[in-house]
Subunit: 255 residues, 2 copies
């Protein structure tokens, strides 16, 4: 199984603290050593870092830990290969453009016998079931809307599409277009919202604490979504099976 | 004016030496300080690094100089903003997927009143004339072929399409799909092919020399394309105006 990390905020925030713990799971505290990736939205632009070596040893991951890139939408993934060989083109997150916006996607889980027809506008470059599912999602979004719709409309469309993929297996996924973060859990995903009054938190995977009160303003709000809780002293809420949640400006939107 | 750098090789080669000199032009020896980017093919996968700060000061550019990423197809760009604000989404190279392959594109020059109609499969995310031209090129390639054609067929199609863009202004560009490197010059582009017997070379923009004989095998072959010569003691061949050249396995293909 792979591991997912997502962050959604109302002001650009660096993900260094969460990523420090998360990256340890790529080879050190856990066995997800078959590549990793992280995507940061910066306005409409995206910085994507992917690497087919273990996140815990990667010089690129080291750069992310040290160079605080601030972003309002971040998606990261650590890979344990199940379908598709260990290769750069199989590392998540995947990025495609639709309606003049980049879409970033990462998936955890296995889809069995997943071979839905793709008509051509979006084709997988690698050999994972995940990228195939992402291409199908993009294809169906492109059919459902003529241009980028409001977040709530996109959520309604995704709520129809996602179960059609999820019935093929485990489909824990994160998706963002730089406006919101969509998260779907088949089996395993949890989230925490950090807001005023901020407290301190300690990583579960590394001996590192941070006092958020020292590096935030009272207006800041940050939602973090992960496969399993990244900190050992915050209240993480588990997703119910089959839940599709939307985070915008660091808050969970009402269903 | 921006600056372009492309590399095409028969074996995965690191671009550190050329990039060291090239990156100096982003803010230090020249005034292209409005962002930069570099894309490396690794098999079918692509690593893309983009940054809206000057390449000479960027921690990400520092990583590229120190961490030798080996690739057979590299495209890099340093930006001096003319059309489109300084923002991550306006940094070259741009990447799109077509026929299950990534396509990487970078452009130097200005296209005047360039507003050709885009039908929808490829839309610019940023506001540059360059990304608009790239989207049109992808759209027309998608219309001309049903799946990825052989390199010589692609070259014939590009030879029909590129002049249609170039008549709008200056269109020096690099394009790769991980199989070959296409380079078109309206005004300014040059190349060198390094092959056995290898000699040493000295950068024009930094006090740095390398003896290629020490880090190559006799079978290696590397083509480097750049806006202006990167070294001061090698024979760089200038592109004639309007030339479209194709490099594969480190060699210039016959027209």
């Amino acid at each position: 199984m792979c591991q997912l990390l997502g962050m959604n905020c109302n002001t650009p925030t660096d993900v260094s603290f969460s990523f420090a713990g998360f990256a340890q799971r790529g080879g050190r505290t856990d066995h997800h050593a078959d590549g990793w990736g992280i995507a940061f939205f910066e306005g409409r632009g995206v910085r994507l870092f992917v690497d087919s070596s273990a996140a815990s040893d990667s010089p690129v991951a080291e750069l992310i830990r040290r160079y605080p890139i601030k972003s309002r939408h971040v998606i990261s993934h650590i890979r344990k290969a199940t379908v598709g060989e260990v290769a750069l083109e199989n590392c998540h997150p995947f990025v495609r453009e639709l309606w003049g916006r980049y879409w970033v996607f990462a998936h955890n889980g296995d889809l069995k016998d997943y071979a839905v027809r793709l008509h051509g506008q979006f084709r997988p470059v690698g050999s994972t079931d995940s990228e195939h599912a992402f291409c199908w999602l993009m294809q169906e979004l492109a059919k459902a809307h003529a241009s980028v719709p409001p977040v709530d409309e996109l959520t309604r469309t995704l709520a129809e599409l996602v179960p059609q993929i999820a019935r093929h297996g485990t489909f824990n996924m994160l998706l963002s277009n730089g406006q919101a973060l969509w998260a779907h859990a088949s089996t395993k995903l949890c989230y925490v919202v950090r807001r005023h009054p901020f407290t301190s938190a300690r990583l579960a995977d590394e001996d590192l604490s941070v006092n958020f009160a020292e590096c935030t303003t009272p207006d800041d709000r940050v939602a973090v979504v992960a496969t399993t809780p990244l900190t050992c002293d915050e209240h993480w809420t588990l997703f119910e099976a089959g839940a599709l949640k939307v985070f915008q400006d660091g808050a969970l939107l009402a269903p």
